[in-house]
Amino acid sequence: MVDRDFDAQLSRLFAEPPGFPDAEAFHARVEGRLDRGWALRRLAIGAAGGVAGLIAVGQLIASRFAGDLRRASDQGVSSVDLGVDKLMDQVNQFVATPASVETLWLGAALAAIALAFAVTRLVEEF
């Protein structure tokens, strides 16, 4: 019984929050670190998005050209001239095809949005 009373007394003593004169300053320091961490994270996400968008556009373009080259080779074109002509046709087709242009523009737009987000955050935070 005595032990239980003492346990309760001790728990109560530990539960009483001590008073600190610099409690507000401590609170402000934590909030400042929270804000900085949040800003850096959003900035990193924006920058990563921008880089990813640029890489995606690059990959789209590169893979399309690589595919065209492979197809030209597979078709067993013996004449280099003919192959070059065909490749050029396909390159022209790639540029002229609405779907390809749409994909290209979509990737570019995504990259632009991500970069704009990152720049906006930079301006807001610094």
């Binding site: 929050p17 001590p18 401590f26 609170h27």
Partner: protein
């Protein structure tokens, strides 16, 4: 159209739920409410004031990261104190300063210098007389609401050692915190 209640008036659980959605203002209020308790606990565990404040800040930052894990089953204060205690122990282990000797510290342990007279001062004064291990185990179990098993796991010592540290620590605290008897009061009066 209802009036939006500012997050500073809600219950801890409500504030934590808001914080889980990224509301830093709500979390800031939790920091305001529990900052002193966390700082006090860390000092009672044996941290010097600067270390206690650093670890307390880190604990609140970690708490914000992991706030989604807090589901309101216990008090937020207990949850954040456990987080702070874990961080402190990790730091102490990293700095290789965790010494379990039975001797009381030679130098006075850091206490809350601005404490008002009364129970709290008595507790902080009484804690000074405990060895590092006793102080750590008692403060973890009573201040951070850790079980003996949790303390043993975190400190990497047998549970029996934790229990004996707690028992010895409680015996010393009981003696120091006991209200003065009539006889001792008379002695002090005459002395």
């Amino acid at each position: 159209m209802g009036i939006e209640r500012p997050p500073t008036t809600g219950h801890d659980v409500e504030l934590a739920a808001l914080a889980a959605t990224g509301d830093r203002r709500a979390y800031g209020e939790l920091v305001r409410r529990h900052g002193s308790a966390v700082r006090g606990l860390l000092r009672r565990l044996g941290a010097d004031p600067a270390t206690a404040d650093d670890v307390a800040q880190d604990a609140f930052l970690v708490g914000f990261e992991q706030i989604a894990d807090y589901r309101g089953e216990g008090a937020f204060g207990g949850w954040i104190k456990k987080t702070a205690a874990r961080l402190y122990l990790r730091k102490v282990k990293r700095d290789a300063r965790l010494i379990f000797s039975d001797a009381a510290p030679e130098e006075p342990s850091p206490t809350i210098s601005d404490a008002a007279p009364g129970d709290r001062l008595d507790l902080d004064e009484a804690l000074k007389g405990l060895s590092h291990g006793e102080r750590l185990c008692v403060s973890l179990c009573y201040g951070a609401d850790w079980s003996h098993a949790e303390a043993a796991e975190a400190l990497n010592i047998p549970i029996g050692t934790v229990k004996s540290h707690v028992k010895r620590g409680l015996d010393k605290l009981r003696a120091r915190l006991a209200p003065p008897t009539d006889a001792s009061a008379r002695r002090e009066g005459h002395g």
